[in-house]
Assembly symmetry: C2
C-alpha cells in the first residue's frame, strides 16, 4: 500500500480528495489528510475507508514530520508561506512533494539538494499558477515547432462567480483563501514587459491600470497585472519577447471599487488597529481621513478621490460606512476587511463559481503575423465542489497519480513547463471537461 | 583609563567625537572608533592621541564583539537596523550602550535581561527621537506639577538647510543617512490621535496630508506625520490625550513634490530594477507609466496626477526625465533615487544646515485654556560640523559623560523621558547654545 499525505483540507482540496479516493481501491493507495479542522476533512472524504483524518496544526513540526516520513508522496495545500518548511522536511526524508503555489525565491536554493537526493518538488501545479503555465507552454512549444516567433504573450485568470450566482454588486464571492483575496497585490510591485519596455506598477496604482478582456460566452472582464511576469519570460524560454504579462481577471467594475478600498487604506496589513473592540466600520473608515467622523464621511471621500456613483454604491453595500462593530479582537485593517468580505461575499451552499482563463499570443510565421486566443472556462457544482477546487486540485491529483505510478523520474525544484508534465496533465484534464477553446487570426501589422 | 567604543563615524558623529575627545585628557578616557571608512574616522578625530581608529565592518561579529568586550561604554551610531545585534553583545558582556535610534519592538524583549544584569540600553538619544522627547517631557512634567491637564501635543522636527545655503528648488540637502531620506515613511502607516480619534495615514497619502508650522525666524514649514505617535501617548504618560502627533518638517513646497516621486513609484524598495546598467532616468520613470517612453512623458504624468507647474519644475530639476544613466549596478528604484539625491542635494563643504524643532501644547489650568509653543533652531558650521551632528551627537556625548562618571545608575531599555536624564542633558545643551524658546498664551475655547 502507498501512503499519500495531504496537508490542508481547505477550500481548494475537495476535487483533489475525490480524485485520489476514486483511485485508492484500484491502486492500493491510502490517503492521510492533516488539517486543524477535522470536520473539514470528513466533509470531503465522506468518511471513506481509504482515508484517515489527522487533526494537525501544520506548525506542529514533530507531528508533521512523522507523517511526512511515513508517506510515499506529500501534497501541501497549506497557505503559501508554509510550503518551505514542508519541502525541507520532504527533502530530509526523500519524499516527492507537490504544491499549487508560487516557488518562493528561497526555495530555489534547495534545487541542488533535491536533484542530488532524487526528490521532485513540483510547484505552481494548481490553476494559476498551474494550468496557465501548462496550456501556455503547450501552445508556445507548438508555435516554435512550426517555426513561429512569439513576440507577445498575455495570460489572465480569475476565480469568479458564475452568472447564475452573481447576486451582489461587486460580482465577486470568496472561493479561495480570503486572506489572499484581501492582500492581492499587496506589498509587491507588479512587473511585466510591454512593447519591449519593462513596466512596473506599484500597489497604489495596481487596480487603476486595467485591461479589458472578453471571455466567451461570459462577456467582458477586467484584468490587472499579477506579480512579476518578467521572470516567466525566462521560465517559458521567451527571453526576448516584447510583451509578457500575467494578470488576474475580475468582473467589469470590480477593480475601481477595490481600488477605492486601497485608496482609503483598508487593505493595510502593516499595523494592528488600536482598541478594535470599541470601533465600528464607520470609525475605522473615518480613521483614514483628516476629519472627524461625520454625516458626510462617504461624500467627503467620494469627492476627495473622485469616485463614481457606482464605486460609492459598492462601498456602501459592503458596509464600510456602517455603525456596526468591526468584530475582530486583534488585527490589521486588512484582517478586519477580510472578516467583512467573508460575510458579505460568502459563497452560498448552492452557488456556482467560475474559473476563467484567457491567453493571447502574437507571433510571426512565414512572414505573416498571427494572433492566437486560447481560453478556458469552468463552472462549479456547488460551494464545496467549486471550479476553483476542480482546477486547482485535479492537476495536482493527476500529477500525484503519475508520480505514484512511477511515470515521471524528474528531480529538483520544478514548475510544470516541461512537455513530459503538461501533455499528460492537460490531456487528462480535457477528458474531464477542463478544456481550452482557441481562435487564430491574421493580425495586421501595427 | 576608561575605554569608549564608538561604532560608526558617519555624518552624525562629528560633534560627538569632538565632545568626547575634549574630555578625554581630563577624564582619562580613550575613544576607540570603528568604521568601514578609516578616512571618515581620521577626518573627525584629526588623529588625536586620545583616539584609535579601527577599520571595522560592524557586520564582522568577532571583531565587533572583541571591541565591545574591552569597552567601558559602547555608543552605536550605525544604521538603525544594526543596533539590535550590538545591544545583544553589550548585554552579554555587561556594557552600557547608547543609540540615537528608535527602540525596535524586538528590543523590548531584552528589558528583563538588561535590568537583571544592571545594563543601561539608552535609545532615542539623538535629536528626533531624542531632544524632542526630553524637551517635551520637561514641559509636560512642569505643566502637570502646576496642576495643568494636557489635551493636545504636537511635535515636529526637521533636518533642513539654512537659508544662506538654500540653493535648490527643493530647499533640501542631505545632512544624514540618505537611505533614510528616500525611505521616509516607506513601508509603514503613520498613526496619531486627533481630537480624540485614532488616525492612520498610509504611505501613499503621507505627503499629501500636511500641516503648516511657523518656526521663527525661519518662517513657514510643512509637517507630515512621523511613524506611530500613538505609542508615545503611553511613553509620555498622556494616555487620555485627545491630540498626539509627532511629525517631520520640510520647507514649504517639498512634500507635494516628494509625493509626486512616491506617486510615480520611484521610492519603491521592494524589487530590483532589471538591467539597470542599460537604463536612463527617463527609461526608469517611463517604466512606471502605461505608455512607451516619448516626448510628452512629463506632461502625461503631470496631467494624470494633476501636478502644479512647481511640482513638475522640481521633478525636471532633479533629473528623473533625463536621458542620463541611472548609474547603479544593482538595486531598487529607491536605491537609484538615493544615488540621484546624494548628488543633486549634496551639502557643499561650506553649506550650513538647519535643525528646526517645534512643539505645541494645549492644556487647561485653573479652568483656563492655554497654548504653549516651544521651539528650537540650530544652524550648522559647515558640512562636517552640521547642526544635525550637533543635535544628534551632543545629547549622546552628555549621556556618555554621565554614565562614565557614574552619575546614572539606571538599568534596562530606556528612552530619555526620565527627569534624571532630561534635566542635566537639556541644561548642558543649553549651555552650549542648543536652547529652546517659548511662548505661552491664553487659548480661546473651541
Amino acid at each position: 500500500m502507498k501512503r499519500i499525505f495531504l496537508l490542508g483540507a481547505g477550500r481548494s482540496s475537495a476535487h483533489l480528495i475525490r480524485y485520489i479516493l476514486d483511485l485508492c481501491p484500484g491502486e492500493d493507495w491510502h490517503l492521510y489528510i492533516g488539517d486543524v479542522n477535522r470536520e473539514d476533512i470528513l466533509r470531503k472524504t465522506g468518511g471513506s475507508a481509504y482515508s484517515t483524518p489527522i487533526e494537525l496544526n501544520a506548525g506542529d513540526r514533530e507531528l508533521r514530520r512523522s507523517e511526512i516520513e511515513k508517506a510515499d508522496l506529500v501534497i501541501s495545500m497549506l497557505p503559501a508561506s508554509m510550503h518551505l518548511d514542508v519541502v525541507k522536511d520532504c527533502l530530509e526524508f526523500g519524499r516527492n512533494v507537490i504544491t499549487p503555489s508560487y516557488v518562493p525565491d528561497e526555495m530555489w536554493s534547495l534545487n541542488s539538494e533535491a536533484t542530488k537526493k532524487g526528490v521532485l518538488v513540483l510547484n505552481e501545479m494548481g490553476v494559476d499558477p498551474g494550468i496557465d503555465h501548462m496550456s501556455a507552454m503547450r501552445i508556445i512549444d507548438s508555435i516554435r515547432r512550426e517555426g513561429g516567433e512569439i513576440g507577445h504573450f498575455e495570460s489572465y485568470t480569475g476565480g469568479l462567480v458564475a452568472p447564475a450566482s452573481d447576486t451582489n454588486p461587486w460580482h465577486y464571492k470568496v472561493t479561495w483563501n480570503p486572506r489572499n483575496v484581501v492582500l492581492a497585490g499587496y506589498g509587491g510591485t507588479a512587473r511585466f514587459r510591454q512593447d519591449g519596455d519593462d513596466k512596473f506598477i506599484p500597489y497604489s496604482h495596481l487596480f487603476e491600470r486595467i485591461t479589458t478582456v472578453e471571455v466567451p460566452p461570459y462577456g467582458r472582464f477586467e484584468g490587472y497585472a499579477n506579480r512579476d511576469s518578467l521572470k516567466y519570460a525566462e521560465v517559458y524560454g521567451l527571453s526576448n519577447i516584447r510583451t509578457m504579462l500575467r494578470g488576474t481577471l475580475r468582473k467589469a467594475g470590480f477593480c475601481s471599487a477595490w481600488n477605492a478600498l486601497i485608496q482609503i487604506g483598508l487593505t493595510d496589513d502593516s499595523f494592528e488597529i488600536p482598541d478594535p473592540a470599541k470601533k465600528t466600520w464607520r470609525d475605522l473608515t473615518a480613521s483614514f481621513t483628516g476629519s472627524s467622523k461625520n454625516d458626510s464621511l462617504e461624500y467627503g471621500l467620494q469627492s476627495a478621490f473622485g469616485w463614481s456613483a457606482d464605486i460609492l454604491d459598492r462601498l456602501i453595500w459592503l458596509g464600510i460606512f456602517e455603525e456596526e462593530p468591526i468584530r475582530i479582537e486583534k488585527g490589521s485593517p486588512a484582517f478586519a476587511l477580510q472578516k467583512l468580505i467573508e460575510e458579505k461575499w460568502k459563497l452560498g451552499p448552492e452557488d456556482k463559481d467560475l474559473i476563467a482563463m484567457w491567453h493571447r499570443f502574437r507571433f510571426v510565421q512565414d512572414g505573416k503575423h498571427f494572433e492566437l486566443l486560447s481560453w478556458l472556462t469552468s463552472e462549479g457544482e456547488d460551494a464545496v465542489y467549486t471550479a476553483m477546487s476542480r482546477t486547482v486540485g485535479l492537476p495536482i491529483g493527476i500529477a500525484a497519480r503519475h508520480l505514484l505510478q512511477g511515470k515521471w523520474s524528474l528531480a529538483g525544484i520544478h514548475l510544470p513547463v516541461l512537455e513530459e508534465i503538461y501533455n499528460p496533465v492537460l490531456d487528462e484534464l480535457e477528458s474531464m471537461g477542463v478544456k481550452f477553446q482557441e481562435s487564430r487570426s491574421l493580425f495586421p501589422l501595427e
